[in-house]
Symmetry: C2
DNA sequence: TTGTACGCGTTATCAT
DNA sequence: ATGATAACGCGTACAA
């Protein structure tokens, strides 16, 4: 069944240097390419880095050799010469697992096939050597870019360290820098948390809720502030306000949401709905409500934020606000890799309310 | 307020070469150290790589210089000379977010401060170029080690590729290689899934359950087989068997668990308990039960596997089997980094039943 | 025990 | 447009 290679115009002589080389079964280097193509290393290098100043003929010839012997430039050697690696660093402190993994997936969507790899580097923002450790990491690895996740993406000192290091970096954040605080001038991928919370408020009010509890996040988090503000704005549009009597601060954790829920639901004139600043706390409020014998959404409507896996799996499924985390991750990686890179970009992503089964019309009250 | 350095025994002369160097504010290289310490590069190199053949005096003197000028060897240059990088690769296809993050945390526990960094590399096992992509990744990055997660940790072809590449690697798996299948001779971190499932069976039987439904994982997963076998063994110890009439195969997903639950619970002579091979499916079964008006655990006890965040957050909290994922990750990294490394290790980790609120004594039946 | 000379695979300089 | 030669920062023969 062996077909003679009649259609092959060039008969591969046994002495073909390329064939000879392939027999040696060694990883090809730029030297091999240069020798086989009868050009200098530099020319090959120019082609690899697609410099314009190379004749089209030469380029094609060399590329043919590269393809035949399967040459791929060594990132380490390349990095040594370039004084930078082909690694992206993902630095974060605390966020939940799903957030991290979604973000990683987004980044990897972009990174895949680009010759760049992703290095994950969690850290402890409460550590004394917090900044030093990150400095060492970035400097030593000569990262070609860094992505910062909340909450440390809002850390001014950290930002300054990265600026000193002159490494391109992108911050993921919920804060649109238009407040009184001095604007942070770096590339950033911003989510419109506020918008999502406005929608949540809208949704509840339209369902007839008037007395609405609020579980907010830690005041130190930019996202917590944004969500509070968005929720407040949403209420205000209907002539309502956040009611301190049925508001509690949580720590973005399940337990804190449970406690906040207990507190809010034991108030006189109990609210008919609760908006929690994230899903973890919303689920905690579920537990508090169910333990008190309240039915969701019959007696109490609940809205969360994040659209975590919990939200869709809990029963009844949780109405929540979704952020396009994966898209944000991909975009962050894009600004780092496709660098027009000296400009500081700000990319904004919308939030969207996902209505499920934890919200229903407000129960009739017995007061007229 | 400037205190004269009276306590300083050595007066730092303005001409101190080290001080001179520090003024230049450049990153120190091995050459700087050598020059400042008046030894050769090689000696410094020996000290970095703690070769024994260096006089103690010399070592201390050089180390002093290293400390003073803050020299840290460049991983890229070092890697180029060593022909390997200081990167660990984490390769996986599909597992859930919490699993991935726990595993990453475990690995990072070990990696932190070791001068090694972690590169995450998800892949698509259904892709045509699956093996090629991984080969390229490992070869190009010259990884110093690879950690494989289930289910691709059981992929024979992949294992063969890594062996050809001669890269140290560790597989994380549920299968203790003592079956009829040819044993896989590589380093591996094994979890005793079987043990956990036996305990689950024990627990249910001791609560008086006799008719017990079973939702198993995909037959292609080693963990699914192990869990089935463990559950079967647990039942057998009490003279019971897995009952095909109330058994269904799921895909380790919430939806599949929901469907399996519906199917099992609509059987005549409905079971009083269900064991699901992971938490996702167990939560799906929750939903099925609640939709049918059954109460958990009043009418139906449920046990899951994984101790995912869902398990403790759902109401009532799910009884489940916990695996020490983070410990397993740390151990995997240890075998790669502290290499005695030519030996193939097998490290085994126990599973533990976590009893919460989704299991209760079997309801009295009306048959005598 | 220590040093010299060279190699690792690539890019940059400055010619031609 | 192309090439010779020197970096890049570190490790290893081999010699001393």
């Amino acid at each position: 069944m062996t077909v003679p290679p009649q259609t092959q115009p060039v008969k591969p002589s046994a002495a073909d240097p390329v064939e000879e080389f392939l027999k040696r079964r060694k990883k090809a280097t730029i030297n091999d390419v240069a020798a086989l193509a009868r050009v200098s290393k530099k020319t090959v290098s120019r082609i690899i880095n697609n410099s314009p100043s190379v004749r089209e003929e030469t380029r094609e010839a060399v590329n043919a050799i590269i393809a035949r012997i399967g040459f791929r430039p060594d990132p380490q050697a390349r990095g040594l010469a370039f004084r930078r690696s082909f690694l992206l660093g993902l630095i974060y402190d605390n966020p939940n697992a799903q957030y991290i993994v979604n973000m990683q997936m987004g980044i990897l969507d972009k990174v895949r096939g680009s010759g760049i790899e992703l290095v994950v580097h969690p850290c402890d923002k409460t550590s004394d050597s917090f900044l030093e450790e990150i400095r060492d990491f970035v400097e030593l690895q000569r990262l070609s870019g860094v992505i910062l996740l909340p909450p440390i993406a809002e850390n001014r000192q950290l930002i300054q360290v990265l600026e000193e290091l002159a490494v391109p970096f992108v911050r993921i954040t919920a804060r649109h820098g238009d407040d009184n605080s001095p604007p942070i001038k770096t590339s950033q991928v911003v989510s419109r948390d506020r918008m999502g919370c406005q929608q949540a408020a809208d949704h509840l009010v339209e369902l007839g809720h008037r007395r609405i509890g609020f579980i907010e996040g830690p005041h130190t988090y930019a996202s917590a502030k944004e969500r509070r503000q968005g929720f407040a704005e949403g209420l205000k549009a209907h002539g309502l306000d956040i009611d301190p009597a049925v508001t509690a601060e949580g720590a973005y954790s399940f337990e804190s949401g449970f406690e906040a829920g207990q507190k809010i639901l034991s108030q006189p004139d109990r609210p008919t709905a609760i908006f929690a600043s994230n899903d973890e706390m919303a689920i905690g409020a579920y537990k508090a409500a169910l333990q008190m014998g309240l039915s969701v959404p019959g007696d109490l409507s609940i809205i969360g934020f994040d659209d975590s896996p919990l939200a869709s799996r809990i029963y009844p499924a949780l109405t929540t606000v979704r952020l396009p985390i994966r898209d944000m991750g991909r975009t962050a990686a894009e600004t780092l890799i496709d660098q027009d890179n000296h400009r500081k970009h700000t990319m904004i992503f919308d939030a969207a309310l996902v209505v499920r089964d934890s919200t229903a019309p407000a129960p009739k009250t017995f007061k007229p």
